[in-house]
Symmetry: D3
Subunit: 290 residues, 6 copies
C-alpha cells in the first residue's frame, strides 16, 4: 500500500482543510505571525504507534520541520516523545488536532491488531488476523495501513481487488454453484475468488469448485472444526485458504484461531477502535526576526 508522499499529502491536506473551515480564528488572534516554536507529540498511553509517517508528511507539507523519534509499528509508552517539530507556531497549532486525530486513530487500530497478532503467536498458531471493510467511511487507506502496521492482514482494499461472493450474491445467483460458475468463468486471472459460506457442507462444495478462499461466516468454533473435518475427509483441506469471520472479538479470538483456520477476521479492529491518547506539547517559543 505504498503511496508516494506527494499523493498522501493531498489526502492529508483534505482532512486538514475540513477542520480549518475559513481558518483558525483563535490562533490568529493570539499567536503572532512571527512566533516560532519547538513542540513534541507525546504519547499518553501504552501501545503500538502508527500514523507517524502521515504526521511527518502533513507537518512538512505545511513547512514545519519534523523529526521522527519512533518508527511506525514500535511499542510506545506514556511520556514518550514521538515527533519533534519546529517552525511557525500558527501552523503548528492550527494543524494540532488533525495531526493528533490521525495518529491516535491509527495507533489505536495498530495496537489492537498487534495485541491479537501476539496472542495468536504466543499460542503457537500461524493463524493471521485480518480486518474487514468495516472502517470509518472514507478512511479505508488509513485504517488498512494501521492494520498492516499492527501486523494484521488488510483484507480487501476496496471493491475491485478481490472477488468476494457474499450471502447476498449467492441469493441472487440462486446457489453457491451458480454463483461460483459465473465467477470462475469470467473472473480476471489476476484476482483471487473468495466465497462466504454458512454451512460446513458448503465449504466442501466451495473447495471442490476450486475457490481460493472460503469464508466461514458466523460459524462457532465447533462448527468450524466440523467444516475442517469434512474438508479433511474430502481431501480438500489445505486446498483453499480458510477465513473465519463474524462474532470474533479480541476476547474469543484464540478459540477461533485454534480451530485450524488460516485467517481470523474482526470488524471491531476498524469499526470500533479505541484511540490511543497522544498530545502536542510546546517546548519553547520565540519570535523569529524576519
Amino acid at each position: 500500500m505504498f503511496l508516494p508522499h506527494k499523493v498522501l499529502e493531498q489526502k492529508l491536506l483534505f482532512l486538514l482543510s475540513e477542520d480549518l473551515g475559513q481558518g483558525d480564528v483563535t490562533t490568529s488572534l493570539i499567536v503572532p505571525e512571527n512566533s516560532v516554536a519547538e513542540a513534541e507529540v507525546v504519547a499518553k498511553d501504552n501501545g503500538v504507534v502508527a500514523g507517524i509517517e502521515e504526521g511527518k508528511i502533513l507537518l512538512e507539507s505545511l513547512g514545519l520541520k519534523a523529526e521522527v523519534l519512533v518508527r511506525d509499528g514500535s511499542g510506545i509508552k506514556p511520556g514518550q516523545v514521538l515527533i519533534k517539530m519546529t517552525g511557525n507556531t500558527r501552523k503548528m497549532l492550527s494543524t494540532e488536532r488533525t495531526l493528533l486525530n490521525i495518529i491516535s486513530r491509527m495507533s489505536g487500530i495498530a495496537t489492537t491488531t498487534r495485541k491479537i497478532a501476539e496472542t495468536l503467536k504466543k499460542a503457537g498458531l500461524k493463524t493471521k488476523v485480518a480486518c474487514t471493510r468495516k472502517t470509518a467511511p472514507g478512511l479505508l487507506y488509513f485504517d488498512k495501513k494501521a492494520v498492516l502496521i499492527g501486523g494484521g492482514d488488510p483484507h480487501r482494499l476496496h471493491l475491485d481487488d478481490l472477488i468476494l461472493i457474499k450471502d447476498n450474491h449467492i441469493t441472487v445467483a440462486g446457489s453457491i454453484e451458480r454463483a461460483l460458475k459465473g465467477a470462475k468463468k469470467n473472473a480476471s486471472f489476476t484476482k483471487r475468488i473468495e466465497i462466504e459460506v454458512t454451512k460446513p457442507e458448503h465449504a466442501v462444495a466451495a473447495a471442490n469448485a476450486g475457490v481460493d478462499i472460503i469464508m466461514l461466516d458466523n460459524f462457532t468454533p465447533k462448527r468450524i472444526i466440523r467444516a475442517i473435518n469434512m474438508l479433511k475427509k474430502a481431501k480438500l483441506y489445505g486446498k483453499a485458504i480458510l477465513e473465519a469471520s463474524g462474532g470474533i472479538t479480541s476476547e474469543n479470538v484464540l478459540e477461533f484461531a485454534s480451530t485450524g483456520v488460516d485467517i481470523v477476521s474482526l470488524g471491531e479492529i476498524t469499526h470500533s477502535p479505541c484511540a490511543l491518547n497522544v498530545s502536542l506539547e510546546l517546548v519553547k517559543t520565540r519570535f523569529s526576526e524576519s
Copy 2:
C-alpha cells in the same frame, strides 16, 4: 447543521467512491444487470439510530427507492427494519458496505451520547454532554451530527466558529491575562470566547475577564468543586458557562456532572465509538424486463 440534501449527497458519493475503486468486480460477475431487489437495513443491536437521513440520500442518489421506517434518534432493537429499499441489485450491493458503515458509526456515536445524556437526566442534572474535535479525521460533519442526534452538544464544528484558547495558546501569549486581552480586543462580536484553565484560581481570573466559557481542563471532580466555590465567593458563578473536560468517561461522568458544571465533554464519544451492528438483507429478487 442543516445541509441541503444535494450538498450532503456530494459528501456521501465521495465516501462511496473511495470504496468502489475501479468498480465492484464481484457484483458485475454474478448479479445480472437487470436484477432488481427488495432489501432491508436491519438492526442487530439495541441502541439509538443515526445516519438514516444520510442513508436515504445515498440510496436515492443512486436511483434506488428508500423507505425510512425509523427516524434518526429513535431507539432501535435487534431485528428491527430501519430502511426498506427497492431497485437495481447491483447498485444495492455495491453500496451496501458504505451505507452500513455510515449508519453503524453514526448510530454508535448517538447511542453512547444518549446513554450519557439520560444518565445525567435521570440524576436530575441539567448538565449537558458535549463531544470534542477528536473525531475520525475527515468525518467532523457525520460525527458531530450523530452527537446532536444522540442529544449531545456538538461543540466546535471546526477551527473557525469559536475562539477557544487552549494551553498552547496561553503558553505563547505568556499568561491567561495577555491571551484574553488580545482575544477580547480583536475577536469578532459574532463569536464566543472560551478559555482552558488548569487551576481553580485561573477560572476566577477568566470569569473576571469576561469570557463566555471556561473549560476546566483535567480537573478532578473535587477540584472542580473547589473552582466553583471560588467563583461563588467572587460572585462570578453563573457569569460564564463552565465546561469540564479531560479524564471524563461514560463511567465517571455522573461524578463530574454533579459538581455543578454546565457541560461535560468527552473525547471518547467520537474518537473511540463502538459501532452499532446493522446489516443489509435481500428480501426478494427478480429480473426487470426492460
Copy 3:
C-alpha cells in the same frame, strides 16, 4: 482566520487555473522558456493594501521569488512598489492577472473598511464597522480577510458559526418568542445567538429573552435611538450587543454609529467594492543559461 499557507495555496491555484484554461497561448508564443525577469507589483491608487500575503504565496507556489515591501494593512500611494519578484518570465506573465485581481479586490475592500473605521474613530466613537455575507460568491475567505485587514469585523464566516435568526426564520417560527425559545433551548453553548428585529419593542423582547446580539434591521437612526431608549428604560441596554444593519452607506455611517449601537454593518463593503488599481511592471529581463 489563519490558514496554513499550503492550504491557502490550494485556493489560490484553483483561482489561477480558471484563468489559465488550457494554458497561456500568448506567453508560450513570445516569451522564451529560459527568459527570466525582475518585476514589481506597483500601486496606482492611494489606499490600504491587502492580498499581499496571498500574492506572495501564489508567486512562491509557482517557483518565483517574491519579496514583500509592504505589509497587508499598510497605507499605500501611487507608484509605491508592493512586491518585487524574480524568476521565470512565463510563469510571471501567466499569473499576472490573477495576482492583480486578488490584490486589487482585497485592497479595495480593505480601503473602504479602513475609511469607515477611521471616520468612526475620529468622531470619538467605539462603534465597530462590520461586513455581511454579501460577498462575491465563492470569495468569502478573501473578502472577509480584507475586511479584517481594513480594521472591520468579518461578521459570520459562513452559515455554521453564529445563530442568526432573520426575518424569514421568525416568519416560520411564528413569533420572535417562539423562534428564540427553540434556539435558546437547543443551540450549542459554543455559539452566540443574534436576532434581527424590525421594531423597537422587539429589541426589548429580544434583550429580555437573553440573546447575545440584536440586529436592528433597516432602522433609521431616529428609530435606533428610540429602541435604545426603550432598552435603557427596561434596564436592558448593554445586555446585548446592538448591531445596526440595512441602509447604511459610507456616506451616512456616522449618523448611524452615533446612536449608540455597538456595530454598524454595511453590505456595500463586500458586494460593491471599488477595486484598487495595481499593475505588474517588468524591470529587467534576461535569459538564463540552464
Copy 4:
C-alpha cells in the same frame, strides 16, 4: 458561453458549499424539517437582471420548484418579482444568501454594461463596449456572462482563447515587430491576434504587420484620433479592429467611443460592479404531511 445545466450546477453547488460550512445552524434550530414555503426573489432596485438562469438551476438542483418570471437581460424595477419558488423551507433559507449574491452581482454587472451600451447606441455609434479579465477572481464565467447579458462583449474568456500581446510581452520580445513575427509564425490559425500599443505610430506598424486587433492602451481620445488619422493616411484604417482601453469609465466612455474605435473596454464593469439589490421574501409557509 453555453454550459449544459448539469455542468453549471456543479459550479453553483461549489459556491453554495463554501457558504454552508458544516451546515446552517440557525435553520436547523428553528425551521422544522417538514416546513414548506412559497417565496419570491424580489428586486429592490431598477436595472437589468442577470443570474436568473443560474438561480433557477441552483434552486432546482436542491429540489425546489422555481418559476422564472423574468428573463435574463430584462429591465426590472423595485418590487418586481423575479423568481417564485416553492418547496422545503430549510433548503430555501440555507441557499438564500448564495442565490441572492449571484443574482445581485450579475445584475449589477449587466446593468452597468447595458447603460453604457445604450449610451453608445443613443449617440448613434456602432462602438461596442467590452469588459476585461479584471473580474472577481474565480468568477470569470459569471462575470463574463453578465456582460453578455448586458449587451457587452466578454472579451477573452481566459488565457487560451486569444493571442493578446501586452506591454510586458513586447518588453521581453524587444520590439513590436519581433513580438509579432514570432506570434504570426507560430500562432494557431484558429486564434485572433491582438496587440497593445502605446504610441500612434505603433498602431500603424501593427496594422501593417497584419494583426487582427489593435489595443490603443491608455490613449486619450485626442491621441486615438491621431492614431486613426495615421492609419487612414496609410490606408490601413479598417484593416484591424481598434480597441480603446485604459482610463475609460462610464462617465467618459462617449468621448472615447466617438473617436471611431470599434471597441471600448472598461475594467470597472467587472472589477468594481455595483451590486443590484434583491431579496428573498417568504410568501406563505405550511407543514407538509409526509
Copy 5:
C-alpha cells in the same frame, strides 16, 4: 468493474467539463435556447461497440432522453444507429464531441480485443487475451472496461489489486527467490502473486516457489515452449497460470497463444487503439414552446 451510474456520471461530467472550458461559444450564438432536436449516434465503421452505457449516462445526466438501440459488445456496421436521443439541442451539440470520443475510443478497443479473442477461439485455443496498464493516462476505467466488453481480461486495475513483481523489483530484491520470499511472507491472502521472468529456468523457480501467475516477458514463442517443457519435466506445468507478454501483436498473437500459455497480453490494445468512427446526426429540430 460495476460502478453505480451516479458515480460513473461524475467521471463523465469531468471529461465533458474539460472540453467545455467556459462554455460552447458557437452553440449559444446559433442555436436558440428553446431548440429541441432528435438526433442519432450512427456508426461509420464495422466493429464491436462499447461506451453505449457511458453515453446513455452522460446524455441522461444532462437531461436528454437517450434510447439505446444496441448493447455494449454487439457487432455493428456502418449506418447503424446506436443511440437515439431527444431534447434540448444546445445540450446535445455541446456534448457531441465528448460523447463520440468516448464511444469511438472504447469501441476501438473492444473491436481489437474481440478480433484477437475470436482468432484464438477459432484456432480452438483456450488462451485468453489480456490488456496491460498501458492505457491512455487517466482512462484506466474506460480502457479496461472496453477490453472486458471485447471479451478480454482487464488484467490489473491499478497498483493495488495484484502483486506483480517486475524486472525492476527483482533487481532491487537481488534475485527472484528473495523477491518472492518477501512477497509470499507478507502479502495479503486476498491477492494473487505474479512474477515476471526473463529466462525459462526462472519460470521453473517461480512455479516451485508457489506463485500464482508467471509472466514470460519478451519470450519468443520458441522460448515459451522451452519454458513449458521445463515446467512439464519438473511436474510444475499447470500449477501456475502462464502469461506471455511483450512483443505480441494482433498479427503474431496466434503463434504465441498456440504455445500453451493461458494468457497472452498486448499493450497495443489500449496504448494504440484505432478509434471506431461514429457520428452524431440531427434528425429533426423544432422549437419548444415553454
Copy 6:
C-alpha cells in the same frame, strides 16, 4: 499553451492517483523504504519525443531528481536515454507506468504529426497539419501539446476558443447564411469564425459573408480544387483560411495538401495515435542511511 509547472503538476498527480488506487502493493512488499536508485527512461523506437517536460515535473513533484537529456520535439532512436533520475526507489517504481504512459502517448502523437509536417515541407508546400478535438477524453491538454511539439496546429483547445459552425449548427439555423448572420452579429470580436461547408458553392457564400476560416468537410482533393477555382473566380481566394478535413490520413495527406488549402486536419493524429515505446530501467540501487 503554457501552464505554470505547479498547475501542470496537479493534472499529472491526478493521473498518477488513478493508477495508484490505495497504493502500490508490490513495491511496499519488496522494495525497502530506504532503497535509492538511479534509473533511466530509455527509448525503444525511433520518433519524436514529447512529454519530457511533463515527466520531469511529475518526477520532481514526488521528490525525485530528474535530469532531462533530450528536449521535447527532438528526434530519438532506440536505446537513447531520455531522462535520468535518482531518488527513492519506491517512488520511482510506483510512478513508472504513469510516467511512461504519458511519454509514450505524447511521443506517438508528436511523431505522427512531425512525419506529416515533414512530408508537406519536403513537397515544398506551406500547408499546415492540424489535429481536431478527437482526442482521448480528458486528455485535450496533453494531446494538443504533443501536436504542437510535433509541429502541427492544435486547432481548437475546447469549445470556447473558436466559433466553429458545423453541419448540425447549420441544420438548426436553416441555412449557412442564417447561421453566419447570427454568428457575425453577436460573436465576440476576440474570436475567429470558422464554418464547415459541404459544397463548393457554399465555400463561396461563406467567403462572401466574411468568415475567417472555411472548413471543406469531406471533400475529395478534386472537389477542393473545384472550390478553390470557384473562389478564385469570385476573387475571394485568400480572403479566408481554407481547411480541408475528413477522410485525410497520413497516406493521402499530400494529395489533399497539394490542392492549395492552408490547413489539412486529421482526426487520427489524436484519436488513434500509435504509442512510442519507452521503458524505465534501473541502473543502480543502494540503501540510503537515513
